[in-house]
């Protein structure tokens, strides 16, 4: 554990990322306490510029809503969607990849064809189609994002399992009479964990970007304040109130950047032998 932190903190970017992310998490957790009112509520006249009024640090938007409150509540939504959709994507991708890699042969063929299908079709367009046809709600946003983001997990896990399953400790487990399921979950997957963790941290970042893009297009949950929605709503007034689009965009940029930096740090800490490739 000690050496993990040492290696992680050796990557200066990763430490910066961790600081930024901690700040975002604190903002998300404190949002309901600091801004107990609904972020949709009109609190002042519209288009109040930032730093002009006490109590409204970042001013108000086109409908007189508190921008800072929107950003804080948006942080919660972004982190929630990023985290939950990554967990769901892992829950689809890990079993598919593990089964493909472990059983090989026809099962591998069929599962990989299935994965390839999802990887070939334009994923953002697929997410749009799903959300346009079913009513956009937070649950469906998460489902749509998970459906388009699990294939890389399946491919990664398959590769790892494929290389691990011929190793001696797996043979030993097999000879000791363990079933396939136990061998996969107790012996193979724990050894494949480091690259999965690295990928997962990058997936949270991608999911946050995807969620913001979808709500920018008006496909988010209409009852939930999110960063993408704020930019989409401020788009038409960009000539007169550019900061309304600028601020939520910076929030997305910093959060996604922080997660990517942490991903690189985790990669350095967990896979010290591997050279970094691209995601």
């Amino acid at each position: 554990m000690m050496s993990f932190w040492k290696r992680f903190s050796y990557n200066r970017g990763a430490v910066i990322g961790l600081v930024i992310l901690t700040f975002v998490i604190v903002a998300a957790v404190l949002a309901p306490i600091l801004f107990p009112q609904s972020p949709w509520k009109m609190v002042q006249r519209p288009f109040l510029p930032p730093f002009t009024q006490d109590g409204l640090l970042l001013g108000t938007d086109a409908l007189g809503r508190d921008v800072l409150a929107g950003l804080a509540h948006g942080a919660y939504v972004s982190l929630l969607v990023g985290l939950v959709s990554t967990i769901v994507a892992l829950a689809i991708g890990v079993p598919v990849g593990a089964a493909a890699g472990y059983f090989a042969g026809r099962i591998d063929d069929a599962l990989m064809r299935f994965t390839e299908f999802f990887q070939t079709i334009p994923s953002f367009a697929l997410a749009i189609v799903l959300l346009a046809i079913f009513q956009p709600s937070l649950t469906f946003v998460i489902i749509a994002i998970s459906i388009v983001s699990w294939p890389p997990v399946a491919r990664l896990v398959r590769g790892e399992v494929l290389s691990l399953r011929t190793r001696e400790f797996v043979e030993a487990a097999s000879l000791s009479g363990l079933g396939n399921l136990q061998i996969i979950t107790r012996h193979i997957l724990p050894n494949a964990l480091p690259p999965i963790i690295v990928l997962a941290s990058l997936m949270v970042a991608q999911a946050i970007l995807l969620e913001s893009s979808l709500s920018f297009l008006g496909l988010g949950d209409p009852n939930i304040m999110s960063w993408g929605y704020m930019i989409g709503a401020a788009r038409t007034v960009i000539r007169t109130a550019w900061w309304l689009s600028f601020l939520p965009g910076m929030a997305i940029l910093l959060t996604v950047l922080a997660l990517n930096l942490i991903g690189e740090g985790l990669n350095d800490a967990l896979n010290p032998r591997l050279t970094r490739k691209s995601e």
Binding site: F117, I121, A125, F134
Partner: protein, 323 residues
């Protein structure tokens, strides 16, 4: 080679068929009457109109017959009818497709050239300030939401500096012809193509840099150095040629993502392509158009994948032609 292309084509056809079945199931899984869904009038249309629709589109027939009719239509490029626009969907997409191909094509070439150049430059300066600057830029653009870059680019270069138009495909009412028209479109293209390209530039840069560094550690590079070849020659002829292969693979896989980016870019810049068409269709709940754009974009991506596969085989003759 022909067998290889044929095999890939068969696979592509299967994927397209699967998408059609998927689209069909979605229409039927959507809340409400499929006829109402297709008409984009959920809950608003009167019963007689819906009954007419059902008869016209065979929705009164058993499900497997409907699926057959749907696939038969789509194969003949009949993608249904947009009741909102009173136009066949295929015609709407046909009108808009060239603009999207122009935008994505220019953005793709731009990002590949810029990304590879920057990646080579960064790898040659590994660990020094040049590398740090290029890598930081790549990291930033990789984390920036595309639609936001597009908005900020409009704000800075179109609203504040007034250098470039931030809206549309050509100057409305200017009536340019010939060279003047081409220049006009090119000017309108600069901002959308650059913003769409920047995200992918970041990806290709990171990939090229990593790949260059990896290849430069191989034995044949040591041999080249031992032979007394200059740094530049080794970089270009020995390392880059080999380092490009994974970048090409990645570029092929990114085709779908570039189209996804085009939806956002076209929406912000009012670029009249199929991405913008999809955005308009979302707002109007025009399902036939949304599904049609989805289908055509998948077909484009498959075609693009096929082209990169062929390029790959030409660039690297060692690749076995398996399907």
């Amino acid at each position: 080679m022909i067998r290889f292309i044929l095999g890939r084509l068969i696979k592509a056809v299967f994927i397209l068929l699967a998408i059609l079945v998927f689209n069909f199931l979605l229409i039927h899984a959507a809340p409400g009457d499929p006829a109402a869904v297709m008409a984009g009038e959920a809950g608003a249309a009167d019963e007689k109109f819906l009954a007419d629709l059902r008869a016209r589109f065979g929705l009164d027939q058993p499900l497997y017959m409907q699926l057959w009719l749907y696939i038969k239509g789509a194969v003949q490029l009949d993608l249904g009818y947009s009741f909102r626009q009173q136009m066949p969907v295929a015609e709407m997409i046909g009108d808009r497709l060239p603009a999207t191909l122009l935008l994505t094509g220019v953005a793709f070439v731009l990002s590949l050239v810029l990304g590879v150049t920057a990646g080579v430059a960064a790898s040659a300066r590994q660990g020094r300030w040049g590398d740090t600057i290029i890598s930081t830029f790549a990291l930033l653009f990789y984390a920036t939401p595309l639609f936001w870059v597009a908005l900020m680019a409009t704000l800075v270069f179109s609203v504040w500096l007034e250098w470039l138009p931030g809206f549309g495909y050509s100057t409305i009412g200017a009536g340019y012809t010939g060279m003047a028209h081409v220049l006009d479109v090119a000017k309108h293209l600069v901002l959308p193509a650059t913003t769409l390209g920047l995200f992918f530039t970041a990806i290709y840069m990171r990939m090229t840099r990593a790949s260059m560094l990896e290849v430069s550690r191989l034995d044949f590079v040591k041999t080249a150095r031992a032979k007394g070849l200059t740094r530049g020659v080794i970089q270009r002829r020995h390392i880059l040629r080999n380092a490009l292969l994974p970048v090409i693979t990645l570029a092929g896989l990114q085709a779908g993502q570039i189209f996804g980016g085009a939806i956002l870019t076209e929406t912000v810049f009012a670029w009249p392509g199929i991405g913008r068409l999809m955005f308009e269709a979302i707002n109007q709940r025009d399902y036939n158009v949304i599904l049609g754009v989805f289908y055509i974009s998948a077909a484009m991506v498959l075609l693009f994948n096929l082209i990169t596969d062929v390029i790959y085989v030409i660039v690297d003759p060692r690749i076995r032609l398996t399907t």
